[in-house]
Subunit: 340 residues, 2 copies
DNA sequence: CTCCATTTACGTAACGTTTCGCTATTGAAC
DNA sequence: GTTCAATAGCGAAACGTTACGTAAATGGAG
């Protein structure tokens, strides 16, 4: 049915190898070039990717394993990533593992079997064990948002400067006179959790003081988790005068808890959230929040992977790239007089 | 490097065809079965999908073309769809076309060249012109959420009963005594827009009356669009006593406009939104809204495509499947005494 | 122990590319 | 009109499967 290179060869009277050369950007005599171009058009020839893949061992396909497609932070990264990769003729296979270790492992195996050329992973655990099959197969890997120290040197990663992000937010609150700053973090074992905690403590250290332990709540990066953590903070005898929440979903949950408790922001409590997404504009206008550069992250991941996929020579193979965040000042924080 | 079937044949002393037969579920003598299984394990044999695809002309891959990955309604459909397809060993290539006709067309061409076995499309226009390359290539297509009448019989589709959905919502408001019900729709040319408008008018007809034309606002299914449309409704001399907004993003935008106008829901205005997503739970608890069965849609799409991909015989090839919606009563509407 | 109907095994030819190692062609310089 | 680099073109052998058509092995019946 569909035309093959053989047909082109027959029609043009040229050899198979010549057609192949032309199609792959090689130079052929102008006369033959015309000949081939006409035949390609007339026969509606489209190269068979299967045969090409078989010969070259490349699928021009990359796999993406993420914990949750419903997460806007993630989809906004994927959008810009996919855009770039597709421009370079790479297809993106998305696997949602629903924050489940088994599904995550299965997804990687699935993708390795599909013979993707590269893998992008936002790991749900801290070991990175699920990546072993890809590592064994020699498939280049780029981690997103979360490092896995055990895989240092074996994979690339694109993360944000989490320490700095948390430091900036916390410092901002401290400078405004707050000293009882609640901190709502994700799961204790996760990279971003640890870094953000570190930044928070650094800021306190700058001000030569230490936060009460009870101000730091580990949660799980979900809306419900954020809600519960905020409730717990409010239930304490000494309520915090400000709260810093460290991801999008928990920010929503925490705000819900504040609304329920009828606490006015910023009059009764100051608030800094995380991740600037369109949505916030609608529901909580003017929240002060830490803005991660999702587009830049997506682009960076795509470019990093393309580099690994093409010139495997230039520079050190694997890199850790750290992007910086911004503190977007809204009107959800206020300056207080510290009662002395 | 990697083991091939030839290696298995050599190690076991069996023929190539026998190995192939076993791998494809054929019966071999128990003794040979053991032999092969051992060899497969020892050599870590994994079938080469490239070669397989070349022979069978199947990629075991499906393409998905959507207008916007950031849209939660869409991602929730994709999540359940991808789950099922992957279980059947199909990879899902996602192409976000950003509601852009050119990108949409390019995406389809890209996927056809990648030789996907099937295509899932949520069309951004009403012509379906972008699907031509897939149609030409004989690739089965399943439309999601939006029908294209011009393609009737050529593609399958999974939609919800939009007429009924709008009818229920509007009827509910009419029964509560409202007769000035604002309606915020999407782009005028789109399938869902037309159907939802139809349902709204049907409900009015049941009550033997007609809405004022100015109550019906066409917008564009974006948050900003919803915001503007709501503003426009509120700017009219006769303000509606209730509003029905017909998608998720516009619901957010409309609520924002209400908040800004300091209108209390439902005391000053009754409100029915669209699409029940986790998020609403947090930001506008207890909104009355039309709930579309995203999971069921995703499942249905996946199953429909799998049917087209496998037993191409059973039943009529292409089907239009209509799922029903639910009206989730919250507390954003109230019964009013119609001033007589 | 033979025979025959069933199973199971196998050799081989595709599938449509890319690439290696040559040979043929080209055209500028003499 | 030769000669010689340089450039283009070519034949054929892979890549690793599947599937067709036939050949061989099996084992119950006679």
């Amino acid at each position: 049915m569909a035309a093959t290179m053989k047909d082109i060869a027959r029609v043009t009277g040229l050899g198979l190898a010549t057609i192949s050369k032309y199609l792959n950007g090689g130079t052929v005599r102008p006369k033959n070039k015309k000949l081939i171009e006409n035949a390609v058009r007339d026969l509606r020839f489209v190269p068979n990717e299967f045969a090409r893949s078989l010969k070259t061992s490349q699928s021009r396909t990359v796999g993406v394993v993420i914990p949750e497609l419903g997460n806007q932070f993630i989809t906004s990264i994927i959008t810009s990533m996919e855009d770039i990769l597709r421009k370079h003729d790479y297809a993106v296979i998305v696997c949602d593992c629903r924050t489940d270790a088994k599904r995550e492992k299965d997804a990687v195996t699935f993708l390795v079997h599909k013979r993707v050329d590269g893998l992008i992973s936002m790991p749900t655990d801290t070991t990175g064990a699920h990546l072993q099959p890809a590592l064994d197969a020699g498939i280049p890997i780029v981690l997103v948002d979360r490092m896995l120290k055990s895989l240092n040197g074996l994979v690339s990663a694109v993360v944000v400067d989490n320490v700095d992000a948390a430091e900036k937010a916390t410092r901002f609150l401290l400078q405004s006179g707050h000293d009882e700053i609640g901190l709502i973090l994700g799961n204790e074992g996760i990279y971003t959790t640890q870094k953000r905690r570190e930044g928070y403590l650094n800021a306190y250290a700058e001000f030569h003081c230490k936060p009460r332990e009870e101000l730091i709540r580990f949660s799980d990066y979900t809306m419900d988790g954020g809600y519960a953590a905020m409730k717990a903070l409010l239930a304490q005898k000494t309520q915090p005068t400000a709260v810093f929440v460290t991801n999008f979903e928990m920010t929503l949950g925490a705000m819900l808890a504040l609304n329920e408790a009828q606490l006015k922001v910023p009059d009764q409590i100051s608030f800094i959230g995380f991740d600037k997404l369109d949505l916030f504009g609608a529901v909580f206008p003017n929240l002060t929040l830490v803005k991660q550069p999702q587009n830049a992250i997506g682009e960076c991941v795509a470019k990093q992977l393309l580099r690994l996929l093409t010139d495997a020579s230039s520079g050190p193979l694997h890199q850790i790239i750290t992007l910086s965040t911004q503190l977007n000042e809204g009107s959800s924080t206020r300056i207080i007089q510290k009662p002395q």
